[in-house]
Structures are given as C-alpha cells and as structure tokens.
C-alpha cells in the first residue's frame, strides 16, 4: 500500500504538471488571439486577410490615421490555403476575418454562396459601379443582384525581362525591340533558345508560368459558362505552349511562388517572366537587389488577363459597417493610385487609366517603364474569360502535371492525357 501510494503520487504530480502545461498553453493562445473585440470602448479591430501584396501596409496606415477608433490587423497566407480557409470558415459559420481578399479564380465559387457575404449595396457602395470596368463589377455580382466584392485590381498581362541578362546574351534591351522579338509564342520560345544557347542559362522560370498567361488569352478557359470542363480548347493550347518550352530546354523548372523560385530571382536563374501587374509587387519584395535591371515588354499573342482580386466581407462579421468603410476607403481612387504606384497592382477602374498620375508614372524598379500606359492598354482591350466554380482547384492539379514534366518524371508528349485526367477528377469531385 505504502509503495503504491507513493508511486501514484508521482504519477499524479506528472499528470497535474501536464494539465497545468496544457492549460497554460491554451491560456497564452487565447490571449494572443483576443483581437476580436479590441481594446478600449468604441474601439473596433478589423481583421483583414489577404494574399500576395495588395498594398495592405499603406492602406492600414492611412485608414487608421483617418479612423482612430478602428484598428486593422493584417494576416497573409499562401494563395490556395487562403481561399480554402475562407471556405471552411464560411461553412463553420464563424472564424472568418472581417475583410477577406478573393482572387478571380475563386470568385465564382464564393459568388455561388452569396448569402455568406455582406451585400455591399446595403452599405452604399452601389454608387461605385460607374467607376468600374463593367465586367469586373459583374464578376462579383450574384445571380440575385447582390454585390459581394469591391474590385481591387486586374492583372493585365505583359512580359518582364532582365535587361542586363539580355544584354549579356546579345539580345536587344529596348522594350519596343524586345516586344518585336516575340509577336507569337513560337517566336518567344525561339528567342528563348537563342538566349539559352548564348548564355548557357535558362530563359523562363517555369512551364506553369507560361501556361497561366496563355490560358488567360484564350476565349474559353477550363470551363464554359455552363461549368462544363473544356480541356480540348484553351487549356490544350496553353498546355502545348508550356510543353514546347520545357522540351526546348529553356525552362528553369522552378515551382512558382515557392522558395526555390524566389531564390531564382536573385540568382539569375531566368531572364523573363510573365507579368500581370500584381507580379511587380512580388518581384520588388523578393529581389530588391535587382532594382533597375528589369523592364517590361508586350506579351506574345497580345492582351489577356491573369488574376485580379476583390475585397469581400463575410456575413458572419460583427463589424460589417466598419469593414465596409475600410473597403470603400481601400478602393477609392486616391488609394488605388497609391497602390498602383507603390506595389504595381493595376486598378480596375478605367477612369484611372487616363489619370495623369497613372499615365505619367514611371516605375523606378522596372527601369522607369511607363507601367500605367503598358498595363492600362492591355486591361482596356480585355475580353474577360469565364472562370468555373472549380477553376482554382483544376488549375492547381493541372499545374502539378506541368511540374512533373519539368521534373523529368513525365515526358512532354505523354503529359496531356494525365492533365486531362487530373482535371476530370477535379471536375467530377
């Protein structure tokens, strides 16, 4: 009995210690997360979830200055995870941030759950309609006429290239001359082969970053307007271009938006990159040391769009009014121009394309390229593509097949059936 008692005591002590440790941990976590209600009286804390670079830091500072009773907490996540997280929180009915950015690839999916979002028309944002590109406004409008998002930016499309690397390989560096090198994607790949032969280096970053812009140029994407998978149309064209580039040996085969790719910017692993306007922000963030070495030329095939986002407010928020205030502020012309200037994201409000501040703007990071003029031209002539409900996930899985080709696991000639199979699996899930 005696020994049993003593041993039991020891075990209990350990158990108690563990229990204390557990409760201690959770207590700490609660304190850390307790941003819901904010500090003092009348003080509101808005949680803003976003991905990439949307000029959020500048928006936060300006907004907090103009609204001393509202505090903004910013939270950034990986692109896919960000959207999945929102979906989970919507189904769970709690936990979503007050303001959430949604990319065009996922907008259709969330639009179908329109009642999960605050109708911005109820908050007096309907008057902004006239400022927007009609299709941008329409893309976040639900079937029953609710507006669930205010457009932030559109992608537009251009090619960013490294003037120093081009020069070293004996290619022209002037942006008009470079544009003339590649009126078509075939010519583009041929230019890449010239570059690779001359420099011994790879030309493009990855097959997926050719696939996406080429797909963006097609009239029909993965899905038609009836949400039927259409792999043999646009996706096949885009897939073939990416296969051709990988086969030609001009791709560095890095996985885009991941550490190796980011290192590639600094280590001169590639000389050219498909550039929607929002990519400028990413380049500046990842490779500040390459300032002044980039320039922008036209994209082969002309025009097209890749990406672009909206600010939305999940209906479960307790701070709808304040959140709407933030969105209104963030999408106001002054802030849109500032985001454009600091990050590069192209506003989705056409009046701004004619704004002198945008037209005259020369991007210092990109060899003073007139990014306003370049991207505005692509955005205005744009015919938007319908993106299916499952566009985001389909793209992810088809991209994986392209990555496998880049890794040498799958031969370029045998990849297409695999891509179709992957897409069909998503479409039927």
């Amino acid at each position: 009995m005696q020994t049993f008692g003593r041993r039991a005591l020891g075990v209990t002590a350990a158990g108690l210690a563990a229990a204390l440790a557990i409760s201690g941990c959770s207590g700490e976590k609660l304190a850390g997360n307790g941003g819901d209600s904010g500090g003092g009286e009348g003080q509101i804390t808005l949680k803003v979830n976003y991905f990439g670079d949307m000029g959020q830091q500048m928006l936060k500072e300006r907004f907090e200055k103009a609204n001393p009773n509202i505090k903004i907490t910013l939270n950034s996540a990986e692109f896919n995870a960000h959207h999945e997280d929102l979906q989970k929180k919507l189904v769970a009915g709690s936990g979503a941030a007050d303001v959430v950015a949604v990319d065009e690839g996922f907008m259709v999916k969330f639009k179908a759950q329109g009642d999960q979002f605050v109708n911005l028309l109820d908050h007096g944002l309907g008057s902004a309609e006239s400022r927007y590109l009609p299709w941008k406004w329409k893309n976040s409008l639900t079937a029953d006429g609710k507006q669930i998002g205010m457009g932030t930016d559109v992608g537009g499309l251009a090619m960013c290239y490294r003037t120093d690397l081009f020069k070293a390989a004996g290619l022209p560096t002037d942006r008009d001359q470079v544009s003339a090198l590649w009126p078509t994607w075939d010519k583009f790949i041929a230019t890449g082969q010239t570059y690779t032969k001359a420099s011994g280096k790879k030309f493009i970053d990855s097959g997926t970053n050719l696939f996406n812009p080429v797909l963006g140029q097609q009239p029909v994407g993965f899905y038609d307007e009836k949400d039927q998978l259409q792999m043999e149309g646009g996706p096949k064209v885009a897939f073939d271009v990416s296969m051709k580039a990988i086969e030609a040996g001009i791709s560095a085969n890095l996985v885009s938006f991941q550490p190796g790719w980011n290192q590639g910017f600094n280590a001169d692993k590639f000389a050219v990159l498909a550039c929607p306007a929002w990519m400028l922000g990413h380049i500046q963030q990842t490779a500040p040391g390459t300032k002044g070495k980039w320039d922008i030329a036209a994209i082969p095939g002309g025009g097209g769009n890749w990406g672009g986002s909206w600010w939305t407010i999940p209906a479960q928020t307790k701070n709808a009014a304040a959140a709407a205030k933030f969105i209104e502020f963030a999408t106001a012309p002054e802030q849109q121009i500032e985001v454009f200037k600091t990050v590069g994201n192209l506003p989705s409000q056409p009046a701004l394309y004619k704004d002198q501040a945008v037209l005259d703007f020369k991007h210092p990071f990109m060899s003073n390229a007139p990014t306003g003029q370049i991207f505005a031209k692509t955005a205005e002539s744009l015919k938007p593509q319908y993106l299916g409900v499952k566009h985001g996930k389909t793209r992810e899985d088809v991209e994986k097949v392209i990555t496998q080709v880049g890794e040498g696991k799958v031969k370029p000639g045998e990849a297409w059936p695999k891509a179709v199979e992957a897409a069909q699996k998503v479409a039927s899930s």
Binding site: M1, F4, G5, A8, L9, V11, T12, G15, L16, A18, A19, I22, A77, E78, F79, N80, A81, E84, Q87, K88, V91, A92, L254, V255, F257, Q258, P259, G260, Q263, G264, A267, K269, E396, K400, V401, T403, Q404, E407, G408, K409, S429
Partner: protein, 327 residues
C-alpha cells in the same frame, strides 16, 4: 480481520480508537482505498477527453458524409467512406510512401542509436558534452530543423547537391531531390534519423549502464570480443528499452507528418510533391480532410491508420522480443 483477533495484543487501545471516532476510520479507509485512484484520475480524465473521445468520435464521423465545402452533403454513409478509400490509388500510394519512409528512417535510426550508445558507454573525455550533444537535434523544434533541411535538399542551391558535386555527382544536371520517390524518401528519412538518433541513444545508454560490469568481465574472461559482447550481452539485457523504442518509433514513423509536409516546395498543398511521391498517410488525411473538405473520408483513413499502427507495432514488438531472447 480474523488475524488480528488471534494476535495476543492488548485489546484496550484498539477498542479505544474504534470508539474515539468512526469518521477517522472512514477517512483512513478512504485514504488508502480511494485516494490513489483519485490521484491517478487526472491522467485518465485527460486521456478520455483528448484520446478516447476523439477516437470514438472519429469512428462515428468515418461512417458519415461530412463535407466542409458543401454543407448539404450529410447523413450516414455506412462503410462507403472505407470502400472508397480502399479503391483509391492515392491511398495506396500514400501507404507505400509511409512504409518506405518508415523503414528508411526506423532501421538506421535504431541501429545507429545502438552503436552510438555503445560508444558513449565507454570511458571518454568530456562525457557530458557528448551526451548533451547527441540530444541537441531532439531539442531543436521540428519546424525549424525541417525548414533548414528543405533548403539543404534544394535542387539549385542546396548543400546536399554541393556535397554530391564535390565527389563528382550531378555535374551536368543537379539532383532534384523532390522529383523522385527514392530521393525524396531518403531526404525525409534523413531528417527523421537526425532528430531521433540521439534521443534513442540516450535511452539505450541509460539501460546499458544498469547492466552489471561483472557480466562483461566474465564474458571477457571467456574470450568474447566487443562485437560479441554488444550483441550477446548488451542487446539482450536492454531488451525492454529496445521494445519500447521500436514501438515508439513505429508509432511516430507511421504518423509522419511535419517532415514531409515542410519538405514540400509549397507546404500549403499537402500533396507530397507534384505526383504525391512522398505523401504520407497523415498528410493525405490532412489534405482530404482540411483541404478538400471531406471529413468523412479523412476520418475513415485515420481509423485505418490507427489499426495499421496497432498491428505493425505489435508485430515489431514481437520481433524485437525474438531478436533479444533468441540469440
């Protein structure tokens, strides 16, 4: 009770104490009979809440449709989740990966730990330093060390390829560690081994130090070399600890999650490479449950994994017992 009556002890004090207070007696009985259980209860209460309940609830969920992305798909599914999992190539691929990585990590890990423990058991300079040093990887947070390893195995600028190039491999085309099954398995197994060898070595060491010296002396007199001493004296005599580490690393190895997860170029995908070349079951459960939002299917897989672990841990424990006792 009858024993005390036979005893010729003075009856007076006993009667007195009985009459003094009945409550004291009650307290005494409570103290000896119930308190031990009360004191060990916290563990079992915690286990019931965080171990048993999730286990049972998981089983219930595995028999239901539960979609995070589509709240309308709900209701009982019977064994549909299970049959679908068994029919899915992705599951078998993940199972194969899990076992592949498990074997690549567990076997070298325990053998090396044994060898290191044996070395540490000799008289060395700076004993404490060595013992602390082997434990350092265990103290390092997995996330930190794995991120470092992910860089170490980078295709273009990783140190692993740098070492390889120094001995003449991968001059033309650097090895893409993430591209193939074998290379990614080795990379992940390396992370696991690095972390756990020291921990197991110290466990073995403490068991070894409990072995009486005279056994070795007797063996040495009989002409047994260090090699024979290790396998015929040390290993059998630390068998309980061996079984413990085998079972523990079986459980850990089959639940492998952090390392494969963070090894990915894009950890958020949880896909274990472009073709799932190193996706483990635990990763698949996460992907199916939290990314694809199919909780029913994920719960079914969790239960399958649970059963697999029970069986494999049992087999391993039996084998280890044989190994220790047989020789």
């Amino acid at each position: 009770m009858s024993l005390t009556q036979i005893r010729p002890a003075p009856p007076a004090p006993e009667q007195r104490s009985a009459s003094i207070s009945k409550s004291k007696l009650w307290w005494h009985r409570f103290d000896t009979k119930a308190v031990p259980y009360l004191l060990i209860a916290p563990f079992f209460v915690l286990f019931a809440i965080f171990g048993l309940f999730p286990l049972i609830y998981n089983a219930v969920v595995s028999l239901r449709h539960w979609r995070l992305d589509d709240p309308k798909k709900t209701g009982w599914a019977g064994f549909e989740n299970y049959t679908k999992v068994f029919a899915d190539d992705v599951f078998w691929n993940a199972l194969g990966n899990t076992f592949g990585i498990f074997i690549l990590s567990t076997v070298p890990q325990l053998v090396l730990a044994l060898i290191i423990a044996n070395l540490l058991n000799h008289k060395l300079r700076f004993t404490t330093f060595w013992r602390v040093a082997v434990l350092l990887p265990y103290v390092t947070p997995v996330a930190a060390s794995t991120l470092l390893f992910a860089m170490f195995f980078q295709r273009d600028s990783g140190m692993a390829n740098w070492f390889l190039s120094m001995v003449g491999f991968g001059q033309e085309e650097p090895l893409n560690w993430r591209a193939e099954k074998w290379s990614s398995w080795i990379a992940i197994a390396t992370m696991v081994n690095w972390k756990w060898i020291g921990y197991n070595a110290l466990l073995y060491l403490s068991a070894m130090q409990a072995i009486p010296k005279d056994v070795y002396e007797a063996a040495a007199v009989d002409g047994a070399g260090p090699q024979r001493q290790l396998w015929q004296i040390t290993v059998p005599m630390i068998q309980p600890v061996l079984i413990f580490t085998v079972v523990l690393s079986t459980i850990g190895g089959l639940q492998l999650f952090n390392e494969p997860m963070l090894f990915d170029e894009n950890p958020a995908l949880a896909s274990g490479g472009s073709d799932g070349q190193w996706q483990t079951i635990a990763q698949l459960i996460y992907q199916v449950g939290w990314r694809n939002g199919n909780l029913g299917s994920a719960a079914a897989m969790s239960w399958i994994l649970f059963l697999i672990i029970l069986v494999v841990a049992g087999i391993n424990a039996l084998l280890t017992k044989r190994l220790g006792g047989g020789r």
